[in-house]
Point group: C2
């Protein structure tokens, strides 16, 4: 039963049939055999890409100039727009075709002046970064006693009596980004429901050096919008210790943050047009916007340059993939995701022609493979058992991806997993497109994520060059190989 359904699903591609058959019957041995065909077809070209990537300075220099010339690039700033135009010039210089910008209206959140300090029992400045999308305080600030909780459970337990009129501090140690970010995203509204007047959130990341991490919050509907700022781990723990000793601690918070009218920004697109199947598309990309601190070097200058340089190398080597390789530098990932949504709106009619969308947006640590993201919408509408069909589809796609990955084994990047692909590509993935997220080593990423320390000096050139090679080889083979990872759903 498994065998037949799998066969039916992938019948559009001869190579894929062989892979899937193999998968269903005897995965390991069959993968090895199947490897050999794809492997022998592409190993020389993969070698040429790798050799060029490791001997070129272009990716490193381009990222350095992007970071140093424009610095951080928040939606609504001239730095972002100038950086987009500068990247367009690089695309043309690198020989990409159809270089153009696609208009996107983006939120314009402005931090303004901000500060916080303990005022009782005695004055001490706190190191803060207001959270993106937060409202500001009244002009004369908010001054209130602090209550500290270490979870939503504790917030619930102490309840409205303890919270009303107070500033709530969430002192929640970092476990994983996916888990801990819930306090940054929802903390303001959860506290506001109980009558809090403002929120401080322990920075979402490992302890740095009095390093605040900004990032977006999301206000719930029908709950008062209260100001929210990240404090450093050091300050969060200090406030927590003081309150634990029984000290009444009063904090004064001043934030001029406001959201202005939307600004005009752009997704930037450039292509290596396919030689045989130009309407079929492999997207590679990252987001060109950043938070308003540091240089947005790893979040996500790296992802943009990894994508751009992958296309440059394929173009430079004259590899002429059969399908179109499309570089997309998305705007406004950080505080809106308007870039990803606008790409979908502009390209929905060709969505089924997207063979895959590959995103790099977790820094510049050496990638160990890709996170494969296949959703319900990828299952054919007439599937008997959609849930089982999705599971099979995922396994087929993963098996097929693993064939390709044999070419990445010399780079140690052949460990693919099933997981969330990335934010920018998610609107397309939700509608059935195959998403691939470069699975970077994030050891060095979370400590500097959304902080003033996301700077170019932390970019390891050798890792960048290898990531470029990984992206270029994967994208090229996906754009050139006979079949698709999965067939069209509709």
């Amino acid at each position: 039963m498994l065998l037949f359904r799998t066969l039916a699903i992938i019948s559009a591609s001869g190579v894929a049939i062989a892979f899937a058959l193999a998968l269903a019957v005897a995965p390991v041995q069959a993968q090895t055999e199947a490897h050999s065909e794809l492997h022998s077809t592409y190993i020389d070209r993969a070698g040429a890409i790798l050799g060029h990537a490791l001997t070129s300075d272009t990716a490193y220099e381009t990222l350095g100039e992007l970071c140093d010339q424009f610095g951080h690039r928040l939606s609504g700033t001239p730095e972002l727009e100038d950086a987009i135009d500068w990247c367009a010039e690089r695309m043309r210089e690198f020989g990409l075709q159809n270089v153009h910008k696609e208009k996107v209206l983006v939120p314009t959140w402005v931090r303004g002046e901000e500060s916080a300090s303990i005022v009782v029992p005695r004055h001490h400045e706190l190191t803060i970064l207001g959270l993106g999308r937060s409202v500001g305080t009244p002009t004369n600030g908010i001054e209130a006693p602090v209550v500290v909780v270490d979870s939503y459970e504790e917030l619930e337990a102490i309840g409205e009596t303890a919270v009303l009129g107070k500033i709530v501090l969430y002192d929640v140690p970092f476990t994983s980004y996916g888990e801990t970010v819930a306090y940054r995203s929802r903390g303001a509204s959860e506290a506001a429901k109980l009558g809090a007047v403002a929120v401080l959130v322990r920075s979402v990341g490992p302890k740095g050096h009095d390093t605040p991490h900004t990032g977006a919050l999301r206000y719930a509907e029908d709950v008062p919008q209260i100001p929210a700022a990240a404090v450093t781990v050091e300050d969060a723990e200090r406030l927590h210790r003081m309150v634990d000793r029984g000290t009444e601690v009063v904090v004064r918070l001043l934030m001029d943050a406001q959201t202005l009218d939307d600004s005009v920004s752009y997704n930037l697109v450039g292509e290596v047009v396919g030689s045989e199947l130009p309407d079929e598309i492999v997207v590679v990309g990252g987001h060109i916007d950043s938070w308003d601190v540091g240089q947005g070097a790893q979040d996500d200058g790296a992802g943009c340059i990894i994508s751009l340089d992958a296309a440059r190398i394929i173009q430079h080597l004259g590899l002429a993939p059969r399908r179109t390789l499309r570089v997309v530098l998305f705007t406004n990932e950080e505080n809106g995701l308007r870039g990803g949504e606008a790409y979908l709106a502009a390209h929905e009619d060709e969505l089924d022609n997207h063979v895959a969308l590959i995103e790099s947006d977790t820094g510049n640590g050496l990638a160990s493979g890709f996170r494969l993201d296949v959703r319900e919408a990828a299952v054919p509408e007439d599937a008997e058992d959609p849930e089982a069909a999705l599971e099979e589809l995922k396994q087929v796609a993963l098996a097929n991806l693993n064939q390709l990955a044999s070419l990445l084994a010399p780079l140690g990047a052949n460990q693919n997993i099933l997981a969330y692909g990335g934010a920018d590509i998610s609107p397309m993935v939700k509608l059935g497109a195959v998403g691939l997220g470069m699975h970077h080593d994030t050891t060095g990423y979370w400590p500097i994520h959304h902080t003033p320390a996301d700077t170019f000096d932390r970019i390891v050139k050798d890792d960048l060059d290898r990531n470029v090679a990984i992206m270029a080889i994967a994208a090229y083979v996906l754009a050139d190989m006979p079949g698709r990872l999965i067939p069209r759903a509709r």
Copy 2:
């Protein structure tokens, strides 16, 4: 010859004679034998001290309250004076005798508002901390092109033509504090000699997270005093990269820094009065002032509490040392050393009665032993060959200290070396007193030294408790044992 001179020098102490003889004849074996006497005399008391230190929360809680209640404690602030009074209360509470303050006039350097930004080619804020003792800029700031050098040699090589009217950035990577701090201390005056209008110094420490390190500078006489600030490693490297690409970079620096009239502060003194030789003194101490960032937790709250708690434990256990154990919390180490100088002025008549002065001022990393600091003035005036006599004196003192260290072997703290003891005790050491610096593991210290990240949360309780035990055992045995490390010089 060596043997006889050594004998002569240490004849004041019977035990010391045995040590020194041993040293001259067969160091290793003799040390082992000599160990056994001191060791068997004190091992039970050392065990009692250790056991109490490791099972007590007092040191950790006292340091936490000091840091959280008063925060940083720059000379001239009420925080410093309130912290001194609070420590005096702790001394009394712990049963110390003769608790009193000794008046010291200290410099009053005020940072004021400060900021710096790249203004050409486009605006970017820089993260700075003005250097202590620096003059401010004119009210409207200083705006000038940046020249970057990586050494005094390069500054000399580019010369006045390149430097005149510019802001000089020293982008000198951290090697060791002793080596790299030269650019913070002298950089302003060296650049001013060539006509620079201001100086930026790459922070003296390993790279943090956009973390500036402040610290004092020293202006040379007869050279214009120009403003100087530390920039972060990230910003230093960014400016360096930009200039290396041929970009003209103009920076705007604003500093309100000024030096006001001296303030009144105090050295804090408390004692466990000696039971047999109360006029002979072992000093233990650290400095209670700090820079105006972070909490001065490791620089040098830790050293103060290690010293204070060592005395508390000796008092608490009723160990009644023969000599007096004196805790001194020095004021104004950071930007003046007035505390150490004032202690000398107040106690010079009893300086020869100081058996040793032990300082802890390199953080709270686990100590591996002590840095023994013996200078020329310790040599008797009638020595035939003062240089040789000093060398012998050092070796005798080290050998004697190593006997004591057998008691610290269970703590891994028996590795003594000959090196600089510490700043606060240096005025006394220069005049012939024996200095001992707790030799802390500084791996975690230099990254946060003089930064906003010198906070209590980084204090490892187990290390603190062990350091207290090491200090208490060493100080107690020095205060109680029959002989001295070296005899009186005069």
